[in-house]
Structure formats: C-alpha cells, structure tokens
C-alpha cells in the first residue's frame, strides 16, 4: 500500500503544519466547473484529449469517495472505475447547464453502494500490517501511522451517510446543495450528517491527542 503524505499535526514537537492547499476551496472549484461542459462537448465529438482531461481531473476525488464508502482499497478501485466508465458511456445524457462534478459523483456513489450491497466487504487491515512490519520506525513516523490508523478507525465507525457527506464537504469542497443532489437527500439531511460526522471525528481524535500515547 502506498503511504500518502500525511501532514496532520499531533504533537507540538512534531510541528507539522497542515497543508491547507491540499483541500480545494469552493471558489476554485466553481471556476474549474465552468469549462467542464465544454470538455464534455468536445469529448462527445470524439476529442480524446478532452476525455483524458476530465478523467484525470476527477480521478483522485472519485477514488477517495469510493474508498470512503467501501473502506476497501481493491473494491474502491473497481467501483471508481465502474462508476467513471458508466458516466462516460452515458455522457450524452449529462445536462451541460449543470455542474459536471455532482453528476459524476452521484454515478460513482451509486456504483460504490451497489458494489457494497452485492459483495461482503473484505476485512482488510492494511494499517495494522503497516505498523507491524518493516522494523523499528522513527517516533514521528510511528505517530503519523498511529494517527492515520486512529482516523481510519474513526471513519469506519461512522455511518456511511455521515462518512460520504463529510468527505464530499470537507475534502472535496462540494456545497450542501450539491451533496444533496449527489446523495438524493434534502440539504438539511446533509447539514445534519456533516455536523454529526465532524463532531464524532473531532471527539475521537481529540481523545487520542489528549491521551498523548495514542491509546484511549
């Protein structure tokens, strides 16, 4: 498993500043949305470069979303691919007057949920293996992996709708209205889900940080 850079500071001594640029803000997302209908039109006319730009732009968000739903790397990869392919096959049904991202995310969400319903999710424990294997690690690295594991466990404990809502809102930068469209629920339901997800995640992480050793 690839270990992605993880910059969440857990101790003052670690002094690692969270990379704020890692999370897209809504203004940037909105300006980016402007050219997506044009890219879709070009892709439908047979422009493979435009198709490649669309797929590349959404590769990371759709994979994160599928992983948040399925919590299994292999299943998530297959679901994300299935979802994006389904969207590309019916690209001519996309309404260019509306943002492309929520339309695609909705298809990927449904693909991931369908996959979860069809198959029992395998109980992988890659993070434990990551901690157990590879010999002694520096303290900062151990803390980083332990926090990562703690966050993964916290995320696993969240109900699916909370998990998806908080990822779409705080990681991907979608608005409440867009998430409501993606999930097919009322905006108030999204607000409630994000509120509860944040509260639980913060509480679990704070408990762990206060403990200092990472054991609650």
């Amino acid at each position: 498993m690839n270990v992605a850079p993880f910059t969440f500071s857990i101790r003052p001594s670690a002094a690692v500043t969270p990379s704020m640029s890692a999370v897209p803000d809504r203004e940037a997302a909105a300006s980016r949305d402007d050219d997506e209908p044009a890219l879709v039109t070009r892709a439908l006319a047979g422009d493979r470069t435009a198709l490649g730009v669309l797929v590349t732009r959404f590769a990371a968000p759709v994979r994160r979303l599928a992983y948040a739903i399925l919590r299994d790397a292999d299943e998530a990869e297959d679901a994300a691919q299935d979802g994006v392919l389904q969207a590309l096959v019916k690209l001519d049904r996309y309404d260019p007057t509306r943002p492309f991202g929520p339309w695609l995310m909705r298809i990927v969400t449904n693909a991931a949920i369908d996959r979860r319903r069809r198959r029992a999710v395998r109980d992988t424990n890659e993070l434990d293996e990551e901690l157990a294997g590879g010999g002694p690690l520096p303290d900062v690295e151990v803390d980083r992996l332990a926090l990562r594991q703690r966050l993964a466990m916290a995320l696993d404990k969240l109900p699916e709708r909370y998990r998806v809502a908080v990822v779409l809102f705080d990681v991907e930068g979608y608005s409440q209205a867009e998430i409501a469209e993606i999930l097919g629920v009322a905006p108030g339901t999204v607000r409630s889900a994000v509120f509860h997800a944040r509260r639980r995640l913060r509480r679990w992480l704070e408990d762990w940080k206060e403990d200092g050793t990472g054991e609650s």
Partner: protein, 120 residues
C-alpha cells in the same frame, strides 16, 4: 431551526479535510486514468462510430417526427378536399345522392345509383 443546524459551520473544516484526504489518497492515479481510458476506448466512448451513432439517432428521430407530421397532413388533406367536393357536387347537381355517389371512395352502391338516376 434546531440547535444542530445553528451549530453547523458552512465553512470547510480544512484541518479535518486535509487529514481525511491524507487517509483516503492512495496514489496510483496514472494507472487509474490509464485503466479508465482503456475501458472507454473498448466501450467506444468518443469513437467516430459513437459520434455517428449519436447523430444518426438524432437523424432517425427527426425523420420519424417528419414522417408522422407528413402522414397527419396527408391524412387531413383528402378529408378536407372530399368535403369540398361533396359540397360542390351537391350544389351543382342539386342532388345529395349524386354528391354521395361521385365523392365516394367505394364502388357505387346499386341502390344509390338507382336513386341518383331516378332523382334526375
């Protein structure tokens, strides 16, 4: 408005978002893009055939609409013409039986023919 709605911040929680992003990112995007593009190619997305197929669907739909429109127009026209002919024959001959005889699309009925002759 309930308390939880009042406590909800509509701003992104960037610290939490960055932590979650670090957890959910797994690398290997290039392989993912390559796999999707290969799948799209196999499914014929954006291929000349798909483009032509989409245009031909539009063309077929347009042809169907045009055909239905034409059929309705053609169907309406003879009825109108027949009505005028019937009126004209009736006015000219002064015989409703003759009008019915000359404007009928069916073979003449013997009784109708007899009635027409008798009226003249």
């Amino acid at each position: 408005m309930n308390p939880e709605s009042q406590a909800f911040s509509a701003e992104q929680d960037r610290e939490l978002g960055t932590a979650l992003r670090g957890l959910l990112d797994r690398g290997g995007e290039a392989e993912f893009v390559a796999a999707v593009m290969a799948g799209a190619r196999a499914a014929g997305v954006g291929s000349p055939r798909a483009v032509l197929g989409r245009w031909s669907r539009v063309a077929i739909a347009a042809m169907i609409v045009a055909a239905v429109g034409t059929a309705l127009t053609v169907r309406a026209t003879p009825e109108q013409a027949q009505a005028l002919d019937t009126e004209w024959v009736a006015a000219t001959t002064g015989s409703a039986a003759a009008a019915a005889l000359f404007t009928s699309e069916d073979a003449p009925d013997a009784a109708l023919l007899y009635a027409s002759v008798e009226s003249n």
